[in-house]
């Protein structure tokens, strides 16, 4: 079938040319598209790969172990326990009835609850978390398809309520809620790891496609100055007093006077750190009242009176008045006074606790007697301005900076509001409020030669292999009082224990200094008292100081009679122990 006409033949030649052109154009188009494909697959590859990976991967967190809290003896006070989370993956379940039956049995859950979750169409359904490891292992060993047992960490406090208000506890996400767990959160908390698994579009994990893991990084261990032996003993003594005196609370703080390390701190009643949301007996009846605010009550239960609450220190504060007096020279140890049982300040008569009066006495004896009129006299000699200056100089207006949150500030008159009466009452520790830790810290500075330290628990943060990450340093202020005055003070306070009102604090074979206090709580006349004793040893070269405070004791309420024996018993046990430990 050749083309018979000439135009047709010409067109045939043209047609071949144009076929070639058409073919060439098509191939050029394909070449252009090849460039486009190359651009997408080379230059845009990273961009799309990243987006695609985001789309394909599901992440599961791996919790990081929280750092432990370890005391100065190496005892672990806060640890992690492995717990398990049991979940089911709907698509992988082969025998739902068996799974439901097994989970109900092992986890002690209602069938209705488990069935709802097993039959729910979701990629992953959590059945129960915080299951103990044994149960978790048992479930894993049943080897049920679609049942996943994931290990997890839970904070665990081996000593239950020991130092509960100091250590604090953690919440559901293992974050610190109160105490040292909060203060050192950044060290204790680890870095979460992740398991990135490939899933299909429905979120179903793909078997055998591998997974990427970012290993979790464990938190740092926190080494604290607490000594479990001292802490245990202090707690025992506090509990004893709490029971026998039917007190509202008993606090004991033991501190190294030279560096501010706290060896023990207890504020009975304490709570169980492993069950921080369970009310202790003292609170359970309150919590059952219809008007009870559970959170308020919990906060109250968790409150650490040693640092969160202020009180009128009473006679222990005479140490400060004595220091100011001696330092300024308005009084010497040999100055003679006469106590008639009361003193008239402006128009107000202020009584001595001994209504008959102490008679003639020098300043040392007056301190031993805790004689109010003498200290009022010293205070008045100083005058409000100078008294206030020393008050400030001794750091009493500042917070101590202790490494626990919620430290309460000092409540004190403004200088312009301090008249003679206010000054007089301040001189023997009334009409202002400070925290127990504040009192201790200042007294520690007055007797250690004038070094105002920062009370603290945290010593260092270290890795699990004990390599130190950071050694904590705390501010220190030198020279708040002269060494000479400090020495005199140590002498007087030793006399108080040897021969004065603090003789119940005397420890056979050790030189102990100290001061008692019995302060009436506000409002006056309520018959409620706070009895306390602050003692330190050795009196000539102080190393350790203890403060015992009994809030609202029943019966005998004098500090010298109920608080001093606590410190004595404490010292009797811990001083030989500390010597043995070569404590300095």
């Amino acid at each position: 079938m050749t083309i018979k006409n000439s135009a047709g033949r010409r067109n045939m030649t043209m047609q071949k040319k144009k076929t070639f052109v058409l073919c060439t154009l098509s191939i050029l188009a394909l070449l252009a598209l090849s460039v486009r494909v190359g651009y997408l697959m080379i230059l845009r590859s990273a961009h799309y790969t990243e987006l695609a990976q985001l789309l394909h991967e599901r992440e599961r967190d791996i919790k990081a172990a929280r750092g432990r809290i370890i005391d100065s003896t190496g005892t672990v006070l806060a640890d992690n326990r492995t717990v398990c989370t049991i979940s089911v993956i709907h698509n992988q379940i082969k025998d739902p009835e068996k799974v439901i039956e097994a989970l109900c049995r092992e986890l002690d859950l209602s069938e209705e609850y488990v069935r709802k979750r097993v039959e729910k169409y979701s990629s992953r359904e959590r059945i129960k978390s915080n299951v103990d490891k044994e149960t978790g292992d048992r479930i894993r060993n049943l080897d049920l398809d679609g049942v996943k047992v994931d290990e997890d960490y839970k904070r665990y406090y081996p000593y239950g309520e020991l130092a509960s208000k100091v250590l604090g506890f953690t919440g559901a996400d293992n974050q610190g809620i109160i105490g040292l767990e909060v203060s050192y959160e950044e060290y204790l908390t680890g870095k979460k790891g992740q398991i990135l698994t490939l899933t299909d579009a429905k979120g179903i994990e793909l078997e055998g496609m591998g997974e990427r893991r970012q290993e979790p990084q464990a938190g740092r261990d926190l080494y604290v100055s607490l000594d479990i032996n001292i802490q245990k003993y202090a707690t025992q003594l506090a509990k004893q007093a709490y029971k026998t005196k039917q007190a509202a609370g008993v606090s004991i703080i033991v501190m190294n006077v030279n560096n501010g390390e706290i060896l023990a701190m207890t504020d009975v009643p304490e709570f169980d750190l492993n069950e921080p949301y369970v009310f202790i007996d003292e609170y359970s009846s309150l919590a059952e009242q219809p008007s009870a605010n559970t959170q308020d009550l919990l906060n109250q239960m968790w409150r650490n009176g040693c640092i969160n609450d202020t009180y009128e220190p009473g006679s222990t504060f005479k140490i400060i008045t004595a220091s100011a007096g001696l330092e300024s020279g308005v009084v010497t140890l040999e100055d003679n006074f006469s106590c008639s049982g009361s003193i008239l300040v402006d128009d107000r008569t202020i009584h001595c606790h001994k209504r008959l009066g102490h008679g003639a006495e020098d300043f040392v004896t007056a301190t031993m007697n805790s004689c109010n009129p003498v200290f009022i006299t010293v205070g008045l000699r100083l005058g409000s301005e100078r008294y206030y200056k020393y008050f400030t100089q001794f750091g009493l207006k500042e917070k101590t900076g202790i490494d626990l949150s919620g430290e309460a500030g000092t409540i004190v008159h403004k200088l312009e509001n301090i008249g003679n009466v206010e000054l007089a009452t301040m001189s023997f520790g009334q009409s202002f409020q400070i925290t127990p830790i504040r009192l201790m810290t200042t007294v520690a500075a007055l007797i250690n030669g004038g070094t105002l330290v920062t009370p603290h628990f945290g010593v260092k943060a270290a890795n699990e292999d004990e390599s130190i990450v950071e050694r904590f340093e705390y501010p220190v202020k030198e020279g708040i009082i002269s060494e000479a005055t400090s020495e005199k003070l140590r002498y007087i306070l030793e006399q108080v224990v040897e021969n004065g009102g603090g003789k119940n604090g005397y420890v056979e074979g050790f030189r102990v200094g100290g001061k008692t206090a019995t302060s009436q709580t506000l409002p006056r006349g309520s018959g409620r008292y706070i009895a306390s004793f602050l003692g330190f040893a050795p009196a000539n070269d102080p190393k350790v100081m203890a403060l015992a405070i009994i809030d609202t004791p029943q019966g005998v309420y004098y500090g010298g009679q109920i608080a001093a024996p606590i410190v004595r018993q404490l010292f009797e046990n811990i001083l030989p122990y500390l010597e043995e430990m070569d404590y300095n």
Binding site: M1, T2, I3, K4, N5, A7, G8, R10, N11, M12, M14, Q15, K16, K18, T19, F20, L22, C23, S26, I27, A29, L30, L33, S34, R36, V37, G38, L40, M41, I42, R44, S45, H47, Y48, T49, L51, A52, Q53, L55, H56, L198, D200, A201, K202, L206
Partner: protein, 384 residues
């Protein structure tokens, strides 16, 4: 025949075996990729990971039987079927309006003959148009006097395909097949008519039209405009429409981009696991990129270049105008589909459903593509 000056050899040795080899490779590769791409979803949806492979395998066997027979039938026979081919195409399209039509995803594109076979009339129409045009052009040229260059001649050539394309678009809502039918017609006309100017003018108009549409789409309000306008906006900025209109496009781009130079390896595609729905259809090229990388993609493109080139060689070796035009039509059909498919998958043009010849899943399409190869092979036998 006796008058012909040249001697024609009817021996099979002249058959274009390169072409056959390329097609065999593409079909085999296509089956492999269909299994790789669809097995995961088929396993989930039908509990049979080879579901799509089996169906495509059946169509492929039918296709090769058709190829075998067609390659043994003297292509000149088809000239007698020109009007029948056209009428059959139109009738089949109209049959979509009868209860035989099957509606899937809102478009009626399939005829179900209730014997386990479905047929896509648009695919039949493509071959029908090729046969009709080759024949009508041949007839017009035989008349001589360059009738083909007159408006009347051009109208005779272009009106039937335009009507068929319009029917495909209106009845089966299948813009891409309409474009292909029209494209084949224009390509065959381009080859048959000696002039260039008409086509240059046509090209300029087309470029201007595209530019105008793009400008309209970009300046128009974001939520207004028609469905196709929105498609164009999604094309220009797929990441802004990644959750709705450009969903498929963006998923294809993820697949292509994440393949990189070396690919993830056969079977290792992530996108086929439900992220790129029905990846075995239009978007199969993107999974090839993801699994086999840039080199896999270039290999496929190269094979299509060889296929198109081989068609051109066969067309130009043939002295017979009808045979030559048949091959040109087939070549245009392959070229348009390959170019448009890869352009869509790479978001070079707006998304419109076009399958990749020999590789994408689709029964009717495979059957007719292979039949067309049979025609080309038969033509190649009769080359000088």
């Amino acid at each position: 025949m006796a008058n012909r000056p040249q001697k024609f050899r009817y021996s099979k040795h002249n058959m274009d075996y390169v072409l056959l080899a390329v097609v065999l490779f593409l079909v085999g590769f296509g089956l492999l990729m269909i299994y790789s791409v669809s097995s995961y979803e088929a396993g989930v949806d039908f509990n049979d990971s080879a579901y799509y492979l089996k169906r495509q395998g059946f169509s492929t066997i039918l296709g090769f039987i058709a190829l075998f027979f067609v390659s043994r039938v003297n292509y000149k026979v088809w000239q007698r079927f020109d009007m029948i081919a056209l009428i059959t195409s139109v009738v089949l399209i109209f049959l979509l309006l009868t209860p035989l039509g099957v509606t899937r995803n809102g478009a009626t594109r399939w005829l179900d003959f209730r014997i386990g076979l479905t047929l896509q009339p648009a695919e039949v129409a493509k071959l029908g148009i090729i046969i009709y045009l080759a024949s009508i052009i041949q007839r017009l040229e035989e008349i001589g006097k360059n009738v083909i260059r007159t408006p009347k001649g051009i109208a005779i050539i272009l009106v039937p395909p335009a009507v068929v394309a319009a029917l495909i678009y209106i009845i089966s809502d299948n813009l891409s097949s309409a474009i292909i039918v029209l494209g084949i017609a224009v390509a065959m006309l381009f080859v048959a008519v000696p002039d260039y100017k008409w086509f240059i003018i046509l090209g300029v108009i087309a470029v201007a039209g595209v530019a105008a549409i793009v400008i309209m789409a970009t300046t128009g309000s974001a939520d207004g405009g028609t469905f196709r306008m929105a498609r164009i906006r999604a094309w220009l900025d797929p990441e802004a429409y990644s959750t709705d209109r450009a969903f498929q496009t963006i998923q294809a781009l993820y697949a292509i981009g994440s393949g990189g130079i070396w690919g993830k390896g056969l079977g290792q595609s992530m996108q086929k696991r439900g992220f790129l729905p029905e990846a075995q259809n239009d978007m199969i090229f993107s999974i090839i990129c993801e699994e086999l990388g840039l080199f896999g993609a270039y290999t496929i493109i190269l094979l299509f270049v060889v296929l198109i080139w081989s068609c051109m060689v066969v067309a130009n070796k043939t002295t017979d105008r009808f045979g030559s035009l048949l091959v040109v039509g087939v070549m245009a059909h392959y070229a348009i589909q390959v170019i448009l498919n890869i352009a869509v998958v790479t978001n070079t043009i707006p998304n419109t459903g076009i399958t990749l010849p020999f590789i994408s899943y689709g029964g009717t399409s495979t059957l007719f593509l292979l039949s067309e190869i049979g025609i080309v092979l038969n033509v190649s036998k009769k080359c000088k």
